[in-house]
């Protein structure tokens, strides 16, 4: 049995072309997406339902913040002759995911999943799809090779995200969400970090950090995602009934190559969301969560101490902060379903190992494995962390760890040797490239497009508009966040031989029969 909560992952990939002097990242990101389709691009994504400026605290900002670099780029972008929809190049894939050009990065957003390992397969499917597009684009280019990296930085201060989404009850007070998440997020990186060579802000010390993203976070809570990033993002875009649901939009995480880490990161966070909804949280408040996040990432002693409020304040190892959440989750959720039990077991064993011998987690955690690779290389080549040229070489190895080309990337070299722990096999990933998760509305989205693609006029996470009898008729996907309604609608879709039959059959389903929230 699966965990049951609806979750998903959105990944912005880094893109470059090796072998050319200059590249236009906006153009290349757009062209890469276009390589998915073999014919003309038909824009279907419905932007009317999106508003990233709306804040859950009850207001809307005039504009989202950008750093100076990006402001210059955006000014130049406005001179482009390409229409907005063409630039975004939004595609919906039969597996229910969204693939598009987001702020000059190819982005793959998985369809909604309720199974943890199903999500891992969907996430890996995104890597494979982007890589296939890169190969096609390389063939189309006169010179150079397109390379795609599933990482979060260019080592020069430009970060891009890997976001997680968790559907949760609207009834939970937002303050409780923030207070519950802060100690968890500041310390989650001890197992969820992807590792990074160097520091991009402040002293720019030649150190190895646990996380790619931690030094880019500056405030506790805000609606922004590109500048002055918050530990807790307040974007109010539930893509579901806003009276009943929130979408917890988590922007603090690294992009993970390790399947185990992806599952553990999402699984533990889903359990913490369960605890928040139940108002069962450890009595823990960090004195300065932002400083804690950065200090944990940079701590070369691996004690990962954070300052916890009290009388007096006390220093606490991050492992113990995580254990406080784990203990409550074990108490409340052990035996609930197979995936929850897997998360609880894996969380406990990982924390135990991190406490006594973190570097033994080679082949399990991204940051540990990357550190092992870098250290081995430095020893072999006699590289020094104090030599700037050597540091660039190490950063080049860091980057190559995230290369999604299975014949090139360092992560994939280890995986091909059987040195990396896997949770899904290649067959499951191949299936996920075309098959949507069966138990959610992602199935309805993907299969609708596959069955009736000529009748689909527009599409979004929560609405599909069809052409029917010369009119545009829409299906609201919001009620389908309820698993029972999703199952009924998916069955109806499978049985329908025409759009007209689909609409007729859907009328027989009580879309408001969702189980009341407790």
């Amino acid at each position: 049995m699966s965990m049951g909560r609806i979750f998903g992952i959105e990944t912005e990939f880094g893109i470059t072309i090796e072998g050319v002097d200059k590249m236009d990242v906006v153009e290349e990101s757009m062209q890469l997406i276009r390589c998915y389709s073999q014919g003309d691009f038909v824009p279907l994504w419905d932007y009317q339902l999106e508003n990233p400026r709306k804040d859950v605290r009850g207001f809307e900002v005039d504009e989202l913040l950008n750093d100076l670099d990006e402001k210059v780029h955006l000014q130049q972008d406005r001179q482009r002759k390409i229409p907005f929809k063409e630039l975004k190049s939004d595609l919906i894939i039969y597996n229910g995911s969204r693939f598009y050009n987001d702020h000059t990065h190819p982005e793959y957003s998985t369809g909604e999943c309720t199974g943890l390992f199903e999500l891992v397969a969907q996430d890996k499917a995104g890597e494979r799809i982007v890589n296939i597009c890169a190969e096609r684009r390389t063939k189309a280019l006169k010179a150079g090779e397109v390379r795609i990296y599933k990482n979060n930085t260019d080592f020069e201060g430009h970060s891009y995200g890997c976001h997680e989404n968790y559907l949760m009850s609207r009834q939970v007070p937002f303050d409780r969400i923030v207070s519950g998440l802060l100690p968890f997020f500041a310390t989650r990186q001890i197992f969820a970090g992807a590792g990074k060579v160097g520091e991009e802000r402040g002293a720019q010390a030649p150190i190895y950090q646990l996380s790619q993203r931690s030094e880019f976070f500056e405030v506790i809570a805000s609606v922004d995602t590109m500048h002055k990033r918050p530990l807790v993002n307040t974007r109010d875009e539930p893509h579901a009934d806003s009276e009943r649901w929130r979408r917890l939009h988590v922007i603090i995480g690294d992009a993970n190559m390790s399947e185990f880490v992806t599952a553990l990161k999402v699984g533990t966070t889903a359990l913490v969301v369960d605890l928040i909804e139940s108002d069962r949280l450890p009595d823990l408040r960090l004195r300065d969560p932002i400083a804690a996040l950065r200090n944990v990432a940079k701590d070369q002693t691996y004690q990962w101490l954070v300052e916890v409020e009290g009388t007096p304040n006390r220093l606490m190892p991050s492992v113990d902060v995580q254990r406080a959440f784990l203990a409550l989750a074990q108490e409340d959720y052990a035996g609930r379903d197979d995936e929850t039990d897997w998360v609880l077991r894996s969380w406990e064993e990982t924390l135990d190992t991190l406490e006594v011998d973190p570097l033994s987690l080679v082949g399990t955690l991204d940051w540990v494995t990357k550190k092992f690779l870098i250290d081995s290389f430095c020893e072999e080549e006699g590289l020094s962390w104090e030599n700037p040229d050597h540091l660039f070489w190490m950063q080049s190895q860091d980057l190559e760890y995230h290369n999604v080309d299975q014949t090139q990337g360092l992560y994939y070299l280890l995986e091909s040797q059987g040195q990396f722990r896997r949770l899904v096999d290649d067959g499951e990933v191949a299936t996920a490239m075309a098959e949507p998760p069966r138990g959610t509305r992602a199935y309805f989205r993907g299969r609708s497009l596959e069955k009736f693609r000529d009748e689909v006029k527009s599409i979004n996470w929560d609405r599909i508009v069809f052409g029917l009898n010369g009119r545009h008729e829409s299906i609201d996907l919001k009620p389908m966040v309820d698993s029972d309604i999703a199952r009924q609608c998916n069955d109806v879709l499978d049985a329908s031989e025409s759009v007209a039959q689909l609409f007729d059959s859907l009328k027989k389903i009580d879309m408001h029969a969702a189980v009341a929230l407790t």
């Binding site: 880094g14 893109i15 470059t16 998915y36 389709s37 073999q38 014919g39 003309d40 038909v42 950008n66 750093d67 670099d69 987001d102 702020h103 000059t104 990065h105 390992f117 260019d154 080592f155 020069e156 430009h158 970060s159 891009y160 995200g161 995602t225 590109m226 500048h227 922007i251 185990f260 599952a263 990982t350 033994s360 080679v362 082949g363 399990t364 092992f372 081995s376 072999e380 080549e381 660039f392 070489w393 950063q395 080049s396 860091d398 980057l399 190559e400 360092l410 070299l413 040797q417 040195q419 990396f420 722990r421 949770l423 499951e428 191949a430 299936t431 075309a434 098959e435 693609r453 000529d454």
Partner: protein, 61 residues
Amino acid sequence: MAEWMEFERRTRPGPGGGPDGDDESGPARPKVDRPDTRDLLKRMRRVDPNQARRYRQRTGE
């Protein structure tokens, strides 16, 4: 309408092919704690030392 890329469809593996199956032992370590580094180092030597210096991205979310 665009012609959509068709990927190979495969049958999902049975219960034995999934993550950990019914294993109660928690996250099993990889079989080798310290991988054989010969192939790794050979591959790492082929990585352009200046690759990261050239790699420049725009800020994302």
